[in-house]
């Protein structure tokens, strides 16, 4: 799933380490999330949206898979 984590993080002047600390995850997790290699659980997605002061839909771009 594509996301805007990197864009929103940079907009708020946060480093990957800052975001990792705010989410209580490792920096490696933030890197994986930003690259879209790892899809977070609903709880982590909610925490990410909360840190950025926005909604999950604004952070994660859901694309329906072609049937």
């Amino acid at each position: 799933m594509k996301n805007r984590i990197e864009e929103l993080r940079k907009l708020r002047g946060m480093t990957q380490q800052d975001l990792a600390k705010a989410l209580n995850v490792s920096r490696q997790s933030v890197i994986s999330l930003e690259k879209g290699k790892y899809n977070p659980s609903i709880l982590l997605a909610y925490a990410i949206a909360k840190v950025f002061g926005t909604t999950i839909e604004e952070v994660f771009l859901f694309e329906e898979e072609p049937k």
């Binding site: 990792a20 209580n24 995850v25 490792s26 490696q28 790892y38 977070p40 659980s41 709880l43 982590l44």
Partner: protein, 137 residues
């Protein structure tokens, strides 16, 4: 599991290693069993002493300890651990089936059967656990 609890676990394993070495050296038993227990105990002791030394460095630094704790308990780590276990389980099944065929071709039906039974037992175990989890969640 928290960092401190993990450290305690390593200490317990190391003590278990020492106990195995002690039993192997002071209790009367066959030579093969003695060698087996002594080597198992030595390996257990060595691995856990190394882990404890690594941990001592981590625990000395609060920030490092927090980072380590986060790394060990975060959801991505849990996901990776589960995925790694799943892949290893699948590969093991395939290797066992392959070995069953190889031993059958080498005219070793008993060994081949052992691999077949082992694979079947694992398959049944998987099915039972899957059904249990399916009813639970």
């Amino acid at each position: 599991m928290s960092t401190k609890r993990r450290f305690v676990l390593y200490v317990i394993y190391a003590i278990l290693g020492v106990a195995l070495i002690t039993v192997a050296n002071f209790v009367n038993m066959s030579q093969s069993l003695q060698t087996y227990l002594a080597s198992f105990g030595t390996a257990l002791l060595a691995i856990n002493v190394i882990k404890m030394l690594r941990f001592r460095a981590i625990l000395a630094d609060q920030e490092k300890a927090r980072e380590y704790d986060t790394r060990m308990t975060e959801e991505r780590t849990v996901f990776l651990v589960r995925r790694a276990r799943s892949i290893v389980f699948y590969v093991s099944l395939m290797v066992q089936l392959l070995l069953a065929v190889v031993f059958q071709l080498l005219d070793q039906p008993v060994i081949s059967q052992v691999f077949c039974y082992l694979t079947a037992a694992q398959g049944i175990g998987y099915f039972i656990v899957w059904r249990y989890l399916d009813s639970k969640y």
